[in-house]
Amino acid sequence: MKVLRGTFGSTGRGFFTFVVHLLRILKLSGQALFWIFIAPFKGRHIRWRLTFVQMVRIGVNSVPIVGIIAFFVGLIIAMQAAYQLARFGATIYVADLVGVSITRELGPLITAIILAGRSGSAIAAEIGTMKVSEEIDALQTMALNPIGFLIVPRTLAMIIVVPCLTVLADFLGISGGFVLAVFNLKLPFIAYFNQTATAILMKDFFTGLVKSFFFAIIIAQIGAYQGFSVQGGAEGVGKATTASVVSSIFLIIVADLLFTMLFFSTV
């Protein structure tokens, strides 16, 4: 009986803490999105200078790593596809497989996961450190809203930058397929190009971008939330940083599943 109660008790508690966290994250996201999309029409300005600084940090500095990984993944998928398709003598369809899976799925997902590890954690660590050193309190006593001052520039930068990086990842992932097709499978360049062009529909490309927009919000909000909930000193910041990466990757995958289900059933 005691064991039973313990098991159910801890499961229930775990579930309720999860729900409480989720509600708080939704509240924070609501506030951040209010500040981005509604407050500017009520006479409050967005701090564009801070946003540009964040865009450089989150976006420009991530270009090399996102590009290289997307290229490699394109190459890997092309190899795996060729391995299967070669048996049917249909290696030209590598173009379809790479093109569609990169634009619909892997481009947005890889970009989001890299940014969750690279920039989401940085947001959590930065805001967590500011919390520990009373800087967030200082902002509030100066009548500056921490959401408007810290979260909005980061969220906005993320929303702008993640879709851009996704386009880059799409392009370089497909290029990875090209390289394998042309140099290893000896397919003519123009045939592969035409095959890719007919395979990818605008719809594929845009569903990927829609996903990346929501991934961007998830990364920024989880980073910010974990940063704000830091308690204690350096140890708390470390925990929040780890938690931000784990939970944003988890939520990205969940969101991905939901969107894919939606696009799968309606299209």
Binding site: T129, M130, S133, E135, D137, A138, T141, L144
Partner: protein, 261 residues
């Protein structure tokens, strides 16, 4: 007596079941320097957090310049907050900004002034606290005492009517701490300003304060001038002044019981 600039009425705060403030009543008058003294854990930091609007009371009211901080809307509260300055215990300078940007931030955000004017004003405030020439330093390059001074310059940026200090001499060597005390005295003379200092440093309190409030276990048990404090017959006030440790009464049976239970 003029009307109080800050009025705390029957302030209660609970963290869960633990009651930290148990009905604090305190009036702070314009242009005085009030020190809130108390032992660690007596609720003085909590009281200060209420005064600057970082925490909402469980019960009771706080009026800053006649505005109830607990019920004020965000806009109303921000109007009041622009008229106060706060020096945090850990200085709380923004580590990603230079000293000059730290001091300028409230001016940049809340005033329509030209950047060149703001630069000059920031330099004036830094000069006031003895940090002229350190404009381009980052907070990490400053010593603890210099950080406090820079944070004070930032707190003064908007020419506040009320200035709050949280443990101004915490973590500083005695000489630097005395320097901060003298800076506070200088501000008192130079500006018409109300100063509220939360501390447990007796020496510094006797130098800077006009009136002293002693907070004990969530209640104000004494308020008055330093002479009145020295004459006080209250055992708790005396204990604080004479720096006597708590007398530990150990009941053998009870002690054994707590160990085995």
């Amino acid at each position: 007596m003029p009307d109080p600039i800050i009025r705390i009425h029957n302030l209660h705060t609970r963290y869960g079941r633990r009651e930290v403030l148990k009905g604090v009543n305190l009036d702070i008058y314009p242009f005085e320097t009030l020190a809130i003294l108390g032992r660690s854990g007596c609720g003085k930091s909590t009281l200060l957090r209420h005064l600057i609007g970082l925490q909402k009371p469980t019960e009771g009211e706080i009026y800053l310049k006649g505005m109830n901080m607990a019920t004020a809307s965000e806009e109303e509260r921000n109007l009041i907050l622009k008229r106060i300055g706060m020096l945090f215990q850990s200085s709380a300078l923004f580590n990603s900004m230079s000293v000059s940007d730290n001091v300028s931030l409230p001016l940049v955000e809340h005033t329509p002034l030209e950047p060149s004017t703001i630069r000059i004003m920031a330099r004036m405030k830094l000069d006031l606290v003895g940090l002229a020439g350190f404009e381009d330093f980052m907070p990490s390059q400053l010593s603890g005492g210099m950080k406090k001074r820079a944070a004070l310059a930032r707190a003064l940026a908007m020419d506040p009517e009320v200035l709050f200090f949280d443990e101004p001499s915490a973590g500083l060597d005695p000489i630097v701490a005395v320097g901060i005390d003298h800076l506070i005295l200088k501000l008192k003379k130079a500006f018409k300003i109300t100063i509220v200092v939360v501390t447990h440093e007796l020496a510094s309190v006797f130098v800077i304060a006009d009136r002293i409030a002693l907070l004990h276990d969530g209640e104000v048990i004494f308020i008055g001038t330093k002479e009145q404090m020295k004459r006080s017959e209250d055992a708790r006030v005396k204990q604080f002044l004479e720096r006597r440790p708590d007398e530990e009464e150990i009941d053998r049976d009870q002690y054994l019981n707590t160990l085995v239970s």
